[in-house]
C-alpha cells in the first residue's frame, strides 16, 4: 500500500486546493498518469503519479485545501491483492471541505460511500464525489438509481443522468484559471458560456461579457472573433478579479524572492558572447525547414546552457541543509511570463541530452501549457537551475534573483549588433550578454566564470550543440 501525497509544486507552495480527481477507486494507473487537478497560485496543475498501481481510496474531497505532504489517496501495487471488500455499514462522514479523517478500516477499499437520508424514508448511498457533482449540476439524488455496490450512487451515475437530460452541460468546459477565479467572484456559471478562446476555452473576456450582461449563449457555430469588451464610463466590477488571481501569484513570487534575497548571498558575472556564427548557422538551418519546424534562437541558448552545466555541475542543483547537492540530471526551469502578469518556470527535462528539435518541441510545449493553464506537477517540481531570457523585451542584460533552493540563474539579453574587436581587427558582430547569478554559499565567482567560458565555447561550436 502506497500513499499519494500533495506534491510541492515549487519552494513557494505551502498548500494546494484539490480541484478534481481524474481517477476513481479501482482505476489502474501508470507512472506519469495525471490523477488529480490541484489549484495553486500558478493555476490549475495536473498532478501526476510516480508509480504504477491501482487507486485504492481517495481521501480528500474536491474543494479541500491540502497542505504539501499530506496524504491524498491510497494506492496498492498492481500485483498486490486488493484488500478484501467489507460489507460493514458505511462510515458517517462530515461534510466537505475538510481533509477526510482516516477510516477505522485502513484496508477498506470500497468506494467512499456515505448514507443520505432520503425523502421516502430509505437511505440513499451516495459517494462524496457524486454528492458534490450532483450539487454542482443541480441533480436531485433521490431521482437516481445507483450502479455502485449496494446500489450506491457514483459520480458516473450523476453525470450519466445529466448527459441524458442535456448533453451540452456535461461537457467539461475548458476555462483559464483567471477566468475561473473571475467567474467565481462574479457569480457567473461558466458552464452556461461558450468560450471564444483557442479550442473553445472560456477566457476572462467571456466572463466579463457574461457579467456585464452580454453573454455569448452556447451556440453550435464557431464563435466570431471576439469583439473588444465594452468600455463603460464606470469601472466594470470585473476589474477586480484578475487582481485577485495575480495577487495570489504575486504573493508566491514575493515569498520566494524575499527568501532568496534574505538568505542567498548572490554574486553576479557577465560576459559578451559573439552569436554571429551561431545565428548564421541557425538561419541556414531554418531556411531548409518549413515554418512549423523552425527553431528559435533561444533553443540554442537552452542547449548551450545545459551542456555548460554538465561541464560545471556545481551550478546545477540545490542548497539544502547548509550543503550543495549537485544534481546529475539537468532540468532547466524556463521562465515564461504570463500575459495577465506573473511568471512561471516550468522545467525542460534532461535538456543536455536532447536534440535542438526535441528542445524546440519542449519549449513550445511548456510555453503553450503554461499560458493555457495546463501545467503538470512534473513541470514545477524538479528544475535544477533557472534560465531567463528577456531579449524579446529589449533588455540588454539580466541581473537574476535565484529561485531557492536552486543555486544559480542564467540570464540572456537581446541580440545586439555591436562593434567587436578581435585579433587587431574591428568588425560588427551580433552579440548577446549572458549573465549568471550564483549562490556564494555554494560556489565562488571562479565557478561562475568557468560556466560562462564553457557557455561561450558551446555557442561558438554551434554544430556540436
Amino acid at each position: 500500500m502506497a500513499e499519494f501525497l500533495m506534491p510541492s509544486l515549487g519552494a513557494d507552495m505551502a498548500a494546494g486546493t484539490l480541484h478534481e480527481w481524474c481517477v476513481k477507486p479501482g482505476d489502474s494507473v501508470k507512472r506519469g498518469d495525471v490523477i488529480a487537478e490541484v489549484e495553486t497560485d500558478k493555476g490549475v496543475i495536473d498532478v501526476e503519479i510516480w508509480e504504477d498501481g491501482v487507486i485504492d481510496k481517495l481521501l480528500v474531497e474536491p474543494g479541500t485545501e491540502v497542505t504539501v505532504g499530506a496524504v491524498m489517496a491510497h494506492i496498492h501495487a498492481a500485483g498486490e491483492a486488493a484488500p478484501p471488500a467489507e460489507s460493514a455499514p458505511p462510515v458517517e462522514k462530515v461534510k466537505p471541505p475538510q481533509v477526510m479523517e482516516e477510516e477505522p478500516h485502513p484496508a477498506d477499499h470500497r468506494p467512499l460511500v456515505s448514507p443520505e437520508p432520503a425523502t421516502n424514508g430509505k437511505r440513499l448511498r451516495v459517494s462524496p464525489l457524486a454528492r458534490k457533482r450532483a450539487a454542482e449540476l443541480g441533480v436531485d439524488l433521490a431521482t437516481l438509481k445507483g450502479s455502485g455496490p449496494g446500489g450506491a450512487i457514483s459520480m458516473e451515475d450523476v453525470e450519466a443522468a445529466v448527459t441524458k437530460a442535456q448533453p451540452a452541460a456535461a461537457e467539461r468546459a475548458r476555462i483559464s484559471p483567471v477566468a475561473r477565479k473571475m467567474a467565481a467572484d462574479l457569480g457567473v456559471d461558466p458552464s452556461t458560456l461558450a468560450g471564444t478562446g483557442p479550442r473553445g476555452t472560456i477566457s476572462k473576456v467571456d466572463i466579463e461579457r457574461a457579467a456585464t450582461g452580454q453573454a455569448t449563449a452556447k451556440a453550435p457555430e464557431p464563435p466570431a472573433p471576439a469583439p473588444p469588451p465594452p468600455k463603460p464610463a464606470a469601472e466594470p466590477p470585473a476589474k477586480k478579479a484578475p487582481v485577485d488571481f495575480q495577487s495570489g501569484m504575486r504573493r508566491a513570487i514575493a515569498a520566494a524572492m524575499a527568501k532568496s534575497n534574505r538568505e542567498i548571498p548572490h554574486y553576479y558575472l557577465e560576459t559578451h558572447i559573439d552569436m554571429t556564427r551561431a545565428l548564421d548557422w541557425l538561419e541556414a538551418e531554418n531556411l531548409k525547414r518549413s515554418i512549423k519546424d523552425r527553431i528559435l534562437p533561444v533553443v540554442l541558448l537552452v542547449k548551450a546552457t545545459a551542456k555548460a552545466l554538465a561541464a560545471v555541475p556545481q551550478l546545477n542543483g540545490f542548497w539544502v541543509d547548509d550543503e550543495l547537492q549537485m544534481s546529475e540530471a539537468i532540468h532547466i526551469g524556463f521562465a515564461v511570463a504570463l500575459r495577465q502578469g506573473g511568471l512561471v518556470t516550468p522545467a525542460i527535462h534532461h535538456a543536455d541530452l536532447k536534440s535542438l528539435d526535441e528542445l524546440m518541441a519542449d519549449v513550445r510545449d511548456v510555453i503553450m501549457r503554461t499560458r493555457a493553464g495546463r501545467l503538470r506537477s512534473s513541470d514545477l517540481m524538479d528544475s535544477t537551475v533557472t534560465l531567463t531570457n528577456l531579449g524579446d523585451m529589449g533588455v540588454e542584460k539580466v541581473f537574476g534573483v535565484i529561485y531557492p533552493p536552486q543555486v544559480a540563474l542564467v540570464g540572456f539579453g537581446k541580440v545586439m549588433e555591436q562593434p567587436w574587436a578581435q585579433n587587431g581587427m574591428l568588425g560588427i558582430r551580433r552579440v548577446v550578454i549572458a549573465t549568471v547569478a550564483g549562490d556564494h554559499r555554494a560556489t565562488d565567482g571562479r565557478t561562475g566564470g568557468q560556466f560562462l567560458d564553457v557557455l561561450n565555447r558551446q555557442l561558438q561550436e554551434v554544430e556540436t550543440l
Partner: protein, 85 residues
C-alpha cells in the same frame, strides 16, 4: 477594385483571428495599422512564430525567416501577404 478590397478584408480578418488566438485580450479594432504590432501587443518571438505559422496555415503563404524583420506593422503584413497570394 472590389475584389482587391474584399481580398484585403479577408487578409485583415485572418490576421485578427490568428492574433486573437495568441493575444485574446488585444483590442484589434483600435490597433494603429502602422504601429509595431509586437511592441503594442506584447508579442514575444515564440508568439510571433506561432502567429506566422497560423497565417501560413490559413493563407498558404510561406514566410522565410529572413523576411520576419519586414513585418512590423499590420499594414506591412497586409502588403506582404497581398503580394504573395
Amino acid at each position: 477594385m472590389t475584389t482587391a478590397v474584399a481580398f484585403e478584408e479577408q487578409i485583415k480578418a485572418t490576421i485578427a483571428e490568428t492574433l486573437g488566438m495568441i493575444a485574446p485580450e488585444a483590442d484589434l479594432e483600435n490597433l494603429d495599422p502602422d504601429a509595431d504590432m509586437r511592441k503594442v501587443l506584447d508579442i514575444d518571438s515564440f508568439d510571433f512564430l506561432n502567429f506566422l505559422i497560423g497565417l501560413n496555415e490559413a493563407l498558404g503563404v510561406d514566410i522565410p525567416e529572413a523576411d520576419y524583420g519586414k513585418l512590423v506593422s499590420q499594414n506591412d503584413l497586409i502588403a506582404y501577404l497581398q503580394a504573395r497570394m
